[in-house]
């Protein structure tokens, strides 16, 4: 029972707005001590896992290339290209992106897009430009459109990647079940990700169409 104190630390530390990195390390210490681990063993276990998990943080090496291209006007080009497209709407743009992200993730191509690679330099500026054209006003300060662009990227990735048989979560499930003597092929697991992926597309896609209606109404009201 006492080892659950670490979970309490996380929830309380977050609610009290301590720095989350600090909360995590305190939670590790509390959990380890409650389980009777010596302090140095806790430190070593955390350090070992931190070193093994470095791949989680390598994605930021795309930043210099993206930063360079943005400095020479990548975001402005992304906006201009959408402004020149007739009939482009924020909702339809994001639906196309959602489909692209789900299908590419289902093929195992997970790192080709993401907040740094595509959302900030391309998708968000494009969605903002389209929304401004639809509503007929500048969307300055309206954070909902860029936030929805990032949300669309997340939904597409999370509800696409599990269809790919060699993704981390499928291998984790296979390994965990094998520990109980249940042997499954990755394909048996990944096929059950398809219904949820379809549902994610329908639910999120419907919300994106709703966005188009809302933006169109705003323009009609302005007239």
């Amino acid at each position: 029972m006492l080892v659950l104190a670490g979970i309490v630390v996380i929830v309380a530390g977050f609610l009290l707005r301590f720095n989350p990195l600090l909360v995590v390390i305190v939670s590790a210490a509390v959990t380890g001590l409650a389980a009777g681990m010596p302090p140095l063993a806790i430190l070593a276990a955390f350090g070992k896992a931190f070193n093994a998990d470095r791949y989680v943080t390598v994605i930021y090496l795309v930043l210099p290339a993206i930063g360079l291209l943005e400095r020479y006007g990548l975001q402005q080009r992304a906006r201009a290209i959408v402004a020149s497209m007739r009939g482009a709407s924020a909702g339809r743009l994001l639906i196309v992106y959602l489909l692209f992200r789900q299908i590419s993730a289902a093929l195992g191509l997970i790192s080709i897009a993401g907040p740094a690679q595509t959302v900030r330099p391309l998708l968000a500026p494009m969605a903002i430009a389209a929304a401004e054209a639809q509503a007929g006003t500048a969307a300055e300060g309206d954070e909902r459109i860029p936030a929805l662009a990032a949300a669309t990227d997340n939904v597409g990735l999370l509800f696409g990647e599990d269809i790919f048989i060699a993704v981390g979560s499928i291998l984790l499930m296979k390994g965990a079940l094998a520990g109980y003597g249940i042997e499954l092929m990755p394909f048996q697991l990944s096929v059950w990700a398809i219904p949820s992926a379809v549902a994610a597309f329908l639910i999120h896609g419907a919300r994106l169409l709703w966005l188009d209606r809302r933006l169109g109404r705003r323009k009609a009201l302005d007239r």
Binding site: N19, V58, L61, P64, Q117, A150, A176, S196
Partner: protein, 303 residues
Amino acid sequence: MIGLGAVYVVAGVMFVAFATLSLRARRLGHAAFYALLALSFLGGDRLGDIGNGVLVLGLVAIAGTGLLKRAPTPAVDAPPPRGNALFVAALVIPATAVAGTLAFRLLPSLVDPKQGTLVSLTLGVLVALAIGYAWLRPRAATPFVEGMRLMDTIGWAALLPQMLASLGAVFALAGVGDVVGRLAGEAIPQGSLIGAVLAYALGMTLFTMVMGNAFAAFPVMIAGIGVPLLIHAHHGNPAVVAAVGMLAGFCGTLMTPMAANFNLVPAALLGLGDRYAVIRQQVATALPLLAVNIALLYGFGFR
């Protein structure tokens, strides 16, 4: 064989550049933070477990004392914007990632096939940088100055996923999963299938929200409820129980700031004033989707 080691060297060199630039700008907290990350990527394997633990304490000390809170360095005047060829340079990164992932599967002796995508992505970044240098002729430091400004806006959130993954390792050693599972098992009314399904799916969602990652929640919930109750007692289909349970966890990922890489990092990168703006846009998708997953599990898992 080219694998994660080469990727880590590239990341380490980038953080050395960030540290140097921060030091030159007299931003000592940032300089120390990036220097420790550089040390981790370049020398982590030689530091030993306790050495890596001390390195983490250093990173936490810098972030926890608010040394990363200083405003990002202001941008200097931008050069005249370029044309649509910028897209070509930008799309080189994903295109190389796709082509490399596929090509390296055929060359398992050259590139570790398990790391094909990360190696290809790194290669794509290097190609894009080479094109950028040759075409745009920026100063040598410009990509790193711009990259560092983006990294500064992300701040400590960049490290939260790796920290939570490490916390998961400590939780596993301490047996947290067994205790949570036992408690959940005791809380469910005997013989109630819908009770067990709800406890398992909602447990995945909530535990994912606490840990920021469905990977940490899955071993706990499958051990506590999934295998003993859903699969053994109620004869559930293991594939459905596992796969749909994981996706219920992903619904939690959409609703928690602990999943910093999905939720806080994009908000920071997009310069949104509300750190939770992305989460707010996701809740209305995540909750109905969670209901769909529970229905899928209940409807198809027990035939």
